[in-house]
């Protein structure tokens, strides 16, 4: 297992290098910089150039690149111009928002999606299967921003049960956090629920007719116990794969959901930075997000070993 860990961590280095090169390349290819945003929409080109000079944005690209990589090697991701704050600090401040949103969304998606997939497999081609898969398809097809607005309208405006936006830190008020995260996580979960339910169904159907499942039934176990204890366990590898991918997609989906629900997370930070051309944030944010994505994939690989003893031998 240690060997796997080391190999995968080493494999992450070129991934991070490519991502950093691409993100730096974007700064050269994409027009515009934050000076125009600071100077304002009707500022003259001279005004913008003055701001650029004040902020040191007019240095040659190679010099900026060397400076940035030098900083990264020393653990310094640069400094955001618009926030007047270190990039690492800015991202880490917002990471709890995005991670809690993603974590709650995936938890909801798993809690609903896996049982729905198992029921669909157990009642394949019967109405529960069609109902579960139909619902999954609807969840998969709805854009999360639209779903978010719909949830705001229903649970915020019409029913008044939950706040329409904003974030409460769990350390400040646990119930407030739960209330603030429920709608955005719900919107994000519904888009992830579909793939999880469908993958669970497919995997469960594949193992449902195996000999050991037949043996379990022959022992007199009820169908729910057969599915809960044996079919689910044997289906966990593909389910974990789709949950791992779902985590990455949820990080992407959080960009939109955070915007709709005014959550101060990494997604909103990066979107704001893109619109303002705050390059240090874009570069640092991309690098850190990639690192998280790689780390989650590694975690999924380790979980494979845990749920499937056969894979430990190979590792």
């Amino acid at each position: 297992m240690l060997r796997l860990l080391i190999v995968r961590l080493l494999a992450a280095v070129p991934v991070l290098l490519v991502v950093s090169l691409v993100s730096f390349g974007l700064t050269l290819l994409v027009p515009g910089d934050i000076a125009a945003e600071i100077a304002g929409p009707t500022a003259s080109a001279a005004d913008v150039e003055h701001v650029r000079a004040e902020l040191g944005l007019n240095k040659p690209p190679l010099e900026r690149m060397i400076q940035w990589y030098g900083g990264v090697l020393h653990g310094d991701l640069g400094r955001s111009i618009s926030l007047n704050q270190g990039v690492g600090e800015a991202v880490l401040q917002r990471l709890p928002v995005t991670l809690s949103l993603t974590f709650v969304a995936l938890t909801i998606a798993c809690l609903l999606g896996i049982p729905a997939g198992l029921v669909a497999a157990a009642k394949a081609r019967a109405w529960p299967d069609q109902a579960a898969m139909g619902a999954a398809l609807v969840g998969l097809s709805l854009p999360d921003f639209w779903l978010g607005l719909l949830l705001i309208w229903l649970f915020g405006v019409k029913l008044g049960w939950l706040p329409t936006g904003g974030f409460v830190a769990p350390t400040t008020d646990l119930l407030g956090w739960l209330r603030s995260i429920t709608l955005p996580a719900g919107a994000l979960a519904l888009t992830q629920l579909g793939p999880i339910a469908r993958m669970t169904r497919a995997a469960a159907l594949e193992v449902a007719n195996s000999d050991y499942i037949r043996t379990a039934r022959a022992k007199g176990l009820t169908e729910p116990r057969v599915y809960a204890r044996h079919v689910l366990a044997a289906s966990m590898v593909p389910i974990l794969t789709v949950v791992g991918i779902g985590f990455g997609l949820s990080l992407g989906g959080a960009l939109v959901v955070e915007q709709v629900f005014s959550l101060p997370g990494v997604g909103r930070l990066v979107i704001g930075a893109v619109l303002r051309r705050d390059w240090p944030i874009i570069q640092g944010g991309l690098l850190l997000t990639t690192f998280i994505f790689v780390a989650v994939n590694l975690l999924v690989d380790l979980l494979y070993l845990w749920v499937d003893p056969r894979m430990r031998e190979g590792a």
């Binding site: 600071i38 004040e54 618009s82 705001i152 893109v274 303002r276």
Partner: protein, 517 residues
């Protein structure tokens, strides 16, 4: 010889007619509460001097004040100054500062603070060019700041009173700090608590705030300001639907802007009050006079004749607009009238086609660039593209994000048309409107000699009537040479919960002199 000009005679843009607002005269304000305001965008920086972004203004105008600022009708009025004495030769401005004004850090404001703030502005301020005629700042005593000009600049008070990128006064020790790195210490009715980027800005009432007793009540950005709310939280909420929903549920109390469709939908909601603001901005269509098709006068005139301006306004503003051809707002000091402009503002397709033929138009591409982040820009561009196609132009509509459009339009080539709302500039008066079309960095790319002369006359004529004549000449030239198109005047809607009392809409949602019922 110096003469005292405590207020604005002869200096100003005079009253900008704003909507009549029912002021709760006679009502007693009540202290308390945390008012939550939603604004649409995050500021690129909260350093007030360094940016002209409206989002920064929403925050900074609650915490900072200037020597002069603008009243309800956009006229320059004293704020931290008692007044100004201007020498007969127009080269010396002697500001007398108000006594007993305290900064949020407890320090009393002196002329040294004012000097350091103006000197910082001259280095990092967005509108720093307006201070280039100032040769020296002197502080003969703690209450007096003298600005010595090397050349006359009659627009100085208008310039330093503008809230565009406000000339705010901060403690002397902040004066040397680079762009974006100041501590938020001002003299305003609210003091800074925290800024959580992408989330909110929090301010609390400054209990040692020195009210300006020269006034009787709130007046634009100046006046006798009273802070009633214990605190102000400005939340950054980019999604319009979420902002409206927040106001409906009572989670938000004030919206910087509510889309017109929502304000119509909620007009019968007794919990919400809408405040239309008209005029708010000029809708314009800038033309590149330097490159391609629009370098030809006949083509620019053809574009002028091909556009149905009212249709563009009706669609791009959701119906909240008024037509007005002048490049100044009616009722202001420099308003040059609109006589003779009808010929330029009526759609005339046969005329457009004849001009295109005269120019030898042969289906060349007309490049219309537009940003996607501003809905009125995008809607206006879409309608303009269709109208120009109907006239026979081969229009290429390029939609990009704001920084890309800005970069593209600053280039001398590669674009012909660019829709732009000018919000704060026409509110300020003529200087930044005429100035936008002047100099080597002019928006139409190719400087026009007559407009250059107008800018010079605005800058160096001491008599108001001479400066007004310059604005008239500028306007005539804009139409005659079809330098760019003024489409119309757009409005916005601000909104509050019904329990926010004595609110009056303005360029920003002002959270002083209003309170919870």
């Amino acid at each position: 010889m110096l003469r005292r000009r405590t207020f604005t005679t002869g200096l100003t843009t005079a009253a900008l007619p704003l909507p009549a607002i029912a002021q709760s005269v006679g009502q007693q304000g009540r202290k308390g509460g945390d008012v939550i305001v939603a604004m649409t965008a995050a500021p690129p920086t909260i350093d007030a001097q360094a940016t002209s972004a409206a989002a920064a203004r929403n925050i900074s105008m609650h915490m900072f004040e200037s020597l002069y600022t603008r009243d309800e009708g956009a006229n320059p009025k004293p704020e931290l100054a008692e007044g100004v004495d201007i020498s007969a030769d127009g080269l010396t401005y002697k500001f007398t500062l108000r006594s007993g004004v305290k900064f949020h850090n407890g320090k009393t404001m002196t002329s040294a603070d004012a000097k350091a703030s103006m000197e910082r502005y001259a280095k990092v301020g967005t509108s720093r060019d307006t201070l280039k005629s100032v040769a020296a700042y002197e502080t003969p005593d703690s209450k007096t700041l003298v600005m010595k000009l090397s050349t006359i600049y009659p627009g100085l008070i208008e310039a330093i009173s503008s809230p565009r990128a406000p000339f705010v006064i901060m403690p002397e020790e902040e004066g040397n700090k680079p762009m974006g790195q100041i501590n938020m210490i001002g003299t305003g009715p609210f003091k800074f608590v925290e800024y959580k980027p992408d989330s909110h800005v929090k301010m609390v009432r400054f209990d040692d705030y020195a009210q300006n007793k020269a006034y009787e009540k709130r007046d634009g950005f100046t006046g006798k300001k009273t802070a009633y709310f214990d605190s102000v939280t400005i939340r950054i909420m980019p999604e319009a639907g979420a902002r409206t929903a927040g106001l409906q549920t009572g989670e938000l109390h004030v919206l910087e802007v509510m889309d017109v469709a929502s304000s119509k939908r909620l007009k019968d909601d007794k919990n919400i009050k809408s405040y239309p603001m008209l005029p708010w901005a000029f809708m314009t269509l800038m033309m590149n006079n330097n490159w391609g098709l629009t370098s030809k006068l006949e083509i620019r005139r053809a574009i002028q004749a091909a556009l149905d301006l009212e249709e563009i306004m009706a669609i791009s503003t959701d119906g909240l607009y008024r037509m007005g051809p002048s490049w100044q707002y009616p009722g202001t000091t420099y308003y040059p009238g609109a006589d003779g402009l009808d010929a330029y503002t009526k759609q005339d397709l046969p005329k457009a086609k004849a001009l295109m033929k005269a120019a030898g138009y042969n289906n060349e591409e007309l490049v219309l660039i537009c940003d996607s982040s501003n809905k009125p820009h995008l809607d206006a561009a879409t309608v303009e593209a269709q109208q120009l196609r109907a006239a026979g132009f081969n229009v290429k509509l390029s939609v990009m994000d704001w920084p890309t459009v800005y970069t593209a339009r600053a280039k001398p080539e590669g674009w012909n048309l660019w829709p732009l709302m000018m919000g704060i500039e026409p509110y300020e008066g003529p200087y930044n409107v005429v100035g936008f079309f002047g100099g080597t960095q002019c928006v139409q790319i190719k400087p026009d000699p007559v407009i250059e002369e107008c800018n010079a006359r605005l800058a160096n004529q001491l008599k108001l009537e001479d400066r007004r004549a310059a604005v008239k000449t500028f306007q005539d030239r804009m139409y005659d040479q079809a330098i760019s198109v003024k489409v119309g005047e757009a409005g916005i809607v601000q909104a509050t919960r019904a329990n926010v009392m004595n609110y009056a809409p303005y360029r920003i949602p002002r959270m002083w002199d209003c309170w919870f019922a």
